[in-house]
Symmetry: C2
Subunit: 109 residues, 2 copies
């Protein structure tokens, strides 16, 4: 078996930095493909291919307006990632407390 396809789920789709760039940009507003191309300075076919992956996993929705395709984020599809990460929140808070304690110990020497 090889690595899971990028379209397997949101976790895989989001592993690619350029796709996160696109999502970040779309978080501001609905945008056409060419707006994304201009804003992120990517090749048009590359943007279309990334959008295809994002759409396949439900991270974006699209609608046609004339010759343009307007894409927008489907934020609800990002929520499962957020939910997974929050299961570790208690742990990193605990780590931060310990880091702070160590810093204070050093200061009191």
């Amino acid at each position: 078996m090889a690595r899971a396809p990028t379209t397997a789920d949101a976790f895989n789709a989001v592993a690619e930095p350029r796709r996160r760039d696109i999502l970040n940009y779309l978080a501001l507003a609905e945008r056409s493909v060419s707006e994304i191309v201009d804003a992120l300075e990517m090749e048009q076919p590359s943007v279309s291919k990334h959008l295809r992956v994002l759409k396949d996993v439900g991270l974006v929705d699209a609608r046609r307006e004339g010759r343009q395709m307007l894409y927008r984020v489907n934020a609800l599809a990002i929520r499962p990632l957020w939910e997974w990460t929050t299961t570790f929140e208690r742990l990193w808070r605990h780590q931060l407390v310990k880091v702070k304690e160590n810093a204070e110990k050093k200061t009191n020497l």
Copy 2:
């Protein structure tokens, strides 16, 4: 260029479901490799290889105790993923409000 290596960053490392399984299990307590193997019913070499990836990106730390290697989560390394997802939190809350409104409209018909 091919896909970014799984060791490129936490986003890539975490895209693999078995690695998330391992992290979930380690969230409970520090564990040896064989405990992971038994608990998750995976092959030992597979677990070692996944742990290697997780360690390379800093998602786990390890220490030796006799013949065993004890692994634990480094939750702070998960925080950047959480931070990225939270930038969309406002958006999905807004989506959920709209979903609720539509549901209420239907009820009032």
